[in-house]
Structure formats: C-alpha cells, structure tokens
Symmetry: C3
Subunit: 364 residues, 3 copies
C-alpha cells in the first residue's frame, strides 16, 4: 500500500514470528527471516507487506500478487506465486488480524491527538477536579461538581466532559465528543463528535404545545464498548440507558432514552433504536435498521440492513424487510411480486439481494 | 431507581402536594405526608419514588411494586399493594410528568455544563460583543459583526456562535453546537453537536463538475423549539429555512435548505427533510422518514417510521410505507404479498407491524 | 426576500451586466440600468432582487411577481408583468445561479467565522507547525508530528486537525470538524461537525467478544470535494478511503473504510456507504440510500432515495427500491400489489411515487 504516513510498525515482524503468532504452517520455500512492516490488501501489497487470501473476489488476482507474505488456507496456497511467503491457516482473515494487531499496536485505540498520553489541554473537563487513579473511581457525593477520569485514559482535543461524569481506565474519548450524565467503564472508545447523555426525546403532546418530560436517568457504558463518530446516546428518562460490555456501535447511530443493550452486540452505522428498547446479548443490527420503541430483540438475533422492526424478535432468529419479517419471508414476497409484475419473465435475484443480511462487522 | 447522581430533587414533594398538583384523588389509606424525592419506572421505584401505572406491560408487575407513590386510573388502582400511596387520575402519564417537572425543575432545560448561568468561558461567541438584554434584540446594521444573546440564555462549552447570529432569552445552546446565519427566538433548546446555518446542498450539475449555488438565506428558529443532538439544519438558498414555534426535533435529523416547518410538529430521530419542503402545523414524522424535495405535508398529518414520501400528503391523514401510501394501504399490500408467497399459509401480523405508525414522541 | 443579514452583495449588478454574464436577451422595455443587489424566490423577490422562472409550481404565480429582474425562457416570458425586467435564456436556473455567484462571491465558500482569513485562533491544529505555503505541500518524514495547511485555507473555530494531516490551498474547514489521518487537496470544503479519519468499523467477531482490527489506511480527499455537516468518513483498514475530485457529499452521510468514490459524484443526505464499496464517476445517490459492503456502482448510475443496494449496479442505470432493482421494477411491483390488495380499485400513483428517483442536487 501507499506509505503509511499515520502509522508506523517499528521494526516489524519476520515471517517466522508471524507464523508463530498465528500458529500457521509455512509453505515450503518461504523465507522465515523475511521482514514484514506493513499490511495491505492483496492487490496493493508490496514486498514489505503482509496480506491475506480468502474466498472472494481476490482469488483470481492472487497469482499477480507481489506481497511479502500472505496468510491463506492450504487449499488456496497454490494460487500464490513462489515469490510470496505463504502461511497456511484455517481462518486466514482472523490470522491476518492477529498479525496486524501485533504490527500496529498503536492503532488499537485512538490517541488524544495532542498529547502522548492523558487529557488534551484543550479538552473541557469539568471543572478543576481531574484525577487519575489506579482504583476505578471513588463513590462521591452526588452533588460534588467533579468529573473523574481513570488512569491511562486519553481525552481528545475539544472534548467536553460534564459534571460528575466518571470515566474508567484506559479509555479513549475522541475529539469534540460531549459526555454528560454518564458513567463509563474501562477501555471504552468514544470516537469524535459523539454526543452522549443529553436529554431523551420525551414530550407529552397536546394541541397547544408539547410538555417536556424531565429526563433524570443516566447513560451507563460498560467495559470495552466502542461508540462510532457522531453517534448519539440519550440519557434515560425514568431509568438508565445501558450499553453492555463489549458492544460495538458504528457511526451516526441513534440510541434513545431508557434503551438497554446487552453484551457483545454489533450495531452498524445509522441504526436508530427508539426509546425503551431491549436488545439482548450478541445481537447484530445491520446498517440503517430502525427499531420502534419498546421492542425487544432476543439473544443472538440478527436484523438485516434497513429493516424496520416493530415487533419483538425471538432469540437466534434472522429478520429482514420493511416491515421486518422472519428469515427470507420479505425477500420471497418481493420475488413473488416481481414475477407477478413481469408475468414471471424476470424475478429479482434472490441470492444477490439476500446478501443484505450478511455479516456486516468484519469488512477489513 | 439508582441514585440520581446527576439530578437532585431537593426536599421533594409530599403525596398531598403531588395530589394537589395533578388534581388526583388519593386512595383510602394513602399517607398524604409521605415525602417523594425521585421518579422511576414501576419496576425500579423505591419508597422515595413516584411512578405511574397505565395500560401496557407493567400492569402484571404492579402488585410487586414498592414505590412510594403511584399515579394511575381508578380502574387500575386495585392492582397496587396497600404499601403504595395511590393517586387516581384520568391520564396517569400526563399527571406523572407534571409531578416530575415539579420535582426536577432543573431538568427542564440543559445547563451550560461549566457555569451556573450564562455563556461558558469556552464557548466561541463572535466576537467581543456579547450582550445580555432584557429586550429580545435590537435590530442592527446587517454588516455589524456581532452576535446577540438574550438574558437567561445558556451557551454550552465549546459552542460556536457565528457573526450576526441572534439568540433570544432563556435558550440553552448545547456543547459543541455551531450556529451561523441564524436567528433564534426565546426558550429554544439546541442539543450538543448540532450544526445550524451552514450552506444548503445546492449545485448546478454538469458533466465537467458541479457549480456551487450561493446560499444566501437564513435559518429562523421560533420560540420553544427543541433541536436534538447532532442534527443539521441548512440555511436557505433563496428563502429562509424556518422552524415554527414549539416544534420538537430529535437527534440526527437533517433539514434541508428552504424548508418551512410549522408549529408544534414532532420530527423523530434520523428523519431527512429535503430542500424546499413545507410541513404544516402539528405534523408528526416518525423515525427515519425521508421526504423528497418540494413535498408538502398537510396540517396534523402523521407519517409512519421509515416511510419514503414523494407526494404531497393532505391534512390529517396517516401515511406509511415505501413508497408512502395513505392509511394501511402499504401494510395491506405486504400482507397480501405474504399470502401469495406462502400459499396463504402465513401472513404477516398486521396488528404488530401496524404499530410502526404509532405515536412516537412520548416514550417516558 | 427578507433583509439578508448575513450576506451583502455590495453594489450589486445592473440588469445589463446580468444579461452579459448570462448571455441573455433582454425583453423589450426592460431597463438595462436597473440595479439588482439580491436574489430571491419568485414569490419573495422585491424590486432589488433577481429571481428565475422555470417550469413548475411558480408559473401560475408569475404574474404577481414584483421582482426587479427575472431570468426565464422565451416561452415563459409573457407570464411576467411589464414591471419586471425579463432576461431570456435557454436554461433559466443555470443562468440565475451564475448571476447569484457574481452577486455573492463570499457565499461560495464558508468563512472561518472569526477571522477574515486563515486559521481561527480557537482551531486546534497539531501542533505548532502550521505553515502557509504557495506550493501545495512538502513531503516530509512520516513520523514528523506536524500538520500542513496550504495558502488561502480557512480553518473554522474549534476545528481539530490531527498530526501529519495535510490540507491544500483555498480550503474551508468548518467549525468543530475533526480531521485526522487524512490528506486533502485544494478547494475542499468540509462543513461543521464532520468527523474524518477515525477508525473504520472493523472487528473479528467471536462469541467471547469482538477483536478490533487495526485501521492503518488514510482518507484521501481530492480537489473540489465538499463534505456536508456532521458527516463521517472513516479511514481505510488495509487500503485508503478515497473521495474523488469534484464529488459533493451532503449532511449526515456515512462513508465506511476502504470506500473508493470517483469524480463528480453526488451523495445526498443520510446515505450510508458500507466498507470497501466502489463508486465510479458521476454517480448520484439520492437521500438515505444504503449500500451493503463491497458493492460496485458503475459510472453515471443513479440510485433512488432510500434504496437498499446489495448487488453491483452497471454503469448508466437507474435503480430504486428495497431491495433496489433496475428502473421501475420495484415501483411496478408495488403498483401490482396495490391492485391485488384492493381488487384493482386503487393503485398507487406511479408517476407521483416515481419522482423519488428524480434529480436531488439542485434545489435552489
């Protein structure tokens, strides 16, 4: 790939070191001492780069690759020229990621931009009482006007941290994020521009105007959560808005008041989760999904891109469509429709369109 | 609920005081002197909290509640144990909100985070000429490079207020909002991260590039409007973008140039309103609705979640679907489709999916 | 229109000057020395304003206009009263825009709000090494912690520019934008609140948690690109995210990692472009469109509003629907459906709904 202006891998790793890290088998003839300092897609990789080859569109281009090293399966290895050091594993992408993490440890969480560590001078942390502690945080009087920030946490330029907010250890808070009325655990990553903890959207409607409903809950963000750029998480009205441990949220996502999200969920970009929804552990919502308020999504369920969900979804099911339906019901309906409209001459390609509910989180 | 770290209700209210405020009838045996200092959902409420019981999922849990007080209807009152002070009213949620407003007056509008009142030291108000006035504002030469801010208005940390912007009295401008080319009335709430008054998206397209169309209109935001976090409102091109009195806008909403929105509308999260649309008074747009440009929505109309509207909608109608259609036409079509696709064995549950056009604004 | 508090056209232009600029023919009786200082829509234009009359809803109101001057076609000219100076051209709106650009040159790109030129005092540009250069930029050691900004570039209040970022000449970076890991060309406009260059959303999923994938690519934004308010552009994972020359992006758009967008594309508000998509030159995506990851959109293709695209779209085609289909296939299907559901009594108005794929970018 092009010179990595923004990340440097230091001395890099040898092919042998990568092999040990990923428990790979080196193809005969591979130079175990070749030094790798970068990562790149197969078509861009140079002699200094590690790449990977998996099923998919790159298989036919594999023969032309001049990558320094490539992790792939035993079956695909013959596709790569002898000049490439080939490392064989069962799951090439997973192995590639492990090597990439070792090559670029500083890319595993955002920096504060203007400081090697700690709180950027331009961050607005309320007020003077910034404390770095080895213990997570001390419980304090609820009225003490102080924010607490754990050791190792970075707070980016221009970020705004409101009164009484508590942020755990080794977090990264992005530039220009605002966080109020919230408690954050350890290793939480909040990307730039997020707004967390503002009023939920609650009104009692009436013909002569809408009465604002006080929102006195909080936002609780547990350990290892990541929140994408410019996303919004409202604080609760009469309960807390809770984001469970390990859940990853993409950019421009809206999370309404009183929402509870479980552990290790994936919420892709531009999803909208209305107030008081309950999302259980390991749920995946693909991009631009909308949930009506008070919906419950069962553990491990997946919802396809752009779906509109107004009914509860049982655990483990895949739903898709507008309105969302179980499995391929929506797609089957659309296919039927196309047959009717075209006199059965042309249906939509069910396989192509069905990709919309494929796995969204791992896009390299 | 959990200790309210971020809001304190002071001395609270007695059950008697809540009864007077909400014009409720106390159930026999209720202690009128019990003191209430918090609010909570029924399943979380403690002896110090007020809660409410209405139709819906909490009715079956009501017997277990240990809330200090509960507003409900005469009909539902017997569901609550004797330990709960029960206040009977016709509209429990409305009464609950009135009591909550009295308990938490400071939650009725956002603070400036870093000051008890006024403009945060870190807000960037253009330039030196900040004035607090009891009169709304003085008309001035159009070229005077000064912003004016009314008395009682709070401007949050890191907010950016451009030249000549005028903001009325008792407004709250959120952290990191940017406001340019705009005039705001009184009691306007702008949540964190909003961008108001930047260029509309106007280009004359051509094969060799797109010519930018100058955008010389303004944004006019009338009294009592609320704009959610990270929402965007473009200024007009050849007319003004206008948001009418009392209209409430949720997070991540896009409002294009030249749009006119009437009074007391509700625009739920992630709606996109294209350029030059006209939305009349009391319109409700549920979440993720998209309007094509130049569409007119009649007074009191409602548009269901995720609908795509490219035709004018007459006053008072409910539309839903993609493309949006009157009433349940879209849902009837989808149901018919499912019957056809499944050989009539399984249709979609019309009642469940029909909830998507339910009332979105009042989610507790 | 109302007094333009925020933009002033200086001395303005005479009708004769506007005629020369737009190669228009003046209608007999028009006063070539009438001075025009503003622009407005036809129903708002005063004696000092230029307006335009084209096909559409304003034709019937044309007779009542008191505009100082109006560009229109020969065919529509008789609709305007004698008091209006009429300028006849083949393409009225295009001519109007050229005159507007001449009247309001300062509206062609955003100012830095707090400075006549250059970098706002409150912008956070990393670190001390800000340089204005007549040459575009010097290539430097990848580890040098310095951002470079070209001559004539404005950086708005509160903007955050990360280490090693390079910004070309005559750009405008909006208030509170954050830009990291990115290289920008000349004349790029970034509106307020954008987040550019943060981590892409890449995880290797697993039952015990998701492993973050290092994102070591960059964001490359070529000359004359415009990015709307609060939009997000993630940097690449293993390649760069690239936005081609002249492409215009509206507000609240999400662009995932590794995406390549060609030249002169139009991406309307709230579109979501998943990781590794390829969008060729001159593509138009209407509002709220979603692309699944790895989709390719051919040159000159158009995608209608709210469409969900999971298959490649060939060059020059128009697709629409959920899932997106070629031409009017989706609409034909929906129409057929309505006929079936209603016993053929009422179909949807295909012409009205078909407007959803109309041209979105030029809304005045």
């Amino acid at each position: 790939m092009n010179p990595p202006f923004f990340f440097s891998s230091g001395r890099g790793l040898t092919v042998r070191e990568i092999g040990e890290l990923t428990k790979a088998t080196l193809r005969a003839g591979a130079d175990p001492e070749r030094r790798i300092s970068g990562i790149a897609a197969l078509d861009r990789a140079t002699i200094r780069d590690l790449t990977f080859l998996d099923r998919g569109r790159f298989v036919e281009k594999a023969g032309a690759s001049v990558a320094g090293a490539c992790v792939t399966t035993e079956g695909l290895a013959p596709r790569l020229a002898e000049r490439v050091c080939v490392l064989c594993v069962a799951e090439p992408y997973r192995a590639f990621v492990e090597a990439a993490r070792a090559l670029f440890p500083e890319a595993l969480r955002p920096s504060s931009l203007f400081d090697a560590s700690g709180v950027a001078a331009t961050a607005l942390v309320h007020p003077a009482a910034l404390q770095r502690r080895s213990d997570r945080w001390l419980h304090r009087s609820p009225t003490a006007p102080r924010a607490e920030v754990g050791s190792g946490t970075l707070i980016g330029a221009g970020a705004v941290i409101g009164p009484n907010v508590r942020i755990g250890r080794n977090c990264s808070i992005g530039a220009r994020a605002s966080i109020t009325n919230a408690l954050l655990g350890d290793r939480v990553i909040v990307h730039p521009g997020c707004s967390i903890g503002q009023d939920g959207f609650g009104f009692v409607m009436g013909p002569r105007g809408h009465r604002k409903v006080p929102q006195v809950g909080r936002v609780i963000i547990q350990d290892d959560v990541e929140v994408g750029a410019n996303s919004t998480i409202d604080r609760g009205g009469v309960r807390d808005t809770v984001i469970g441990e390990g859940t990853k949220i993409d950019n421009l996502v809206q999370i309404g008041h009183n929402v509870t999200i479980g552990r290790n969920c994936i919420i892709v970009s531009q999803c909208g989760i209305s107030g008081s929804c309950t999302i259980n552990d390991h749920v995946v919502l693909a991009g631009q999904v909308g949930l009506a308020d008070n919906v419950t999504i069962g553990e491990g369920a997946m919802v396809g891109a752009q779906s509109g969900v107004s009914a509860d979804i049982p655990a483990g099911e895949k739903w898709f469509g507008y309105p969302a339906m179980r499995g391929r019901a929506y797609m089957r309906g659309i296919m039927k429709l196309q047959q009717l409209a075209a006199g059965r001459k042309r249906g939509v390609d069910l396989n192509a369109a069905g990709d919309m509910d494929d796995h969204p989180a791992d896009k390299g």
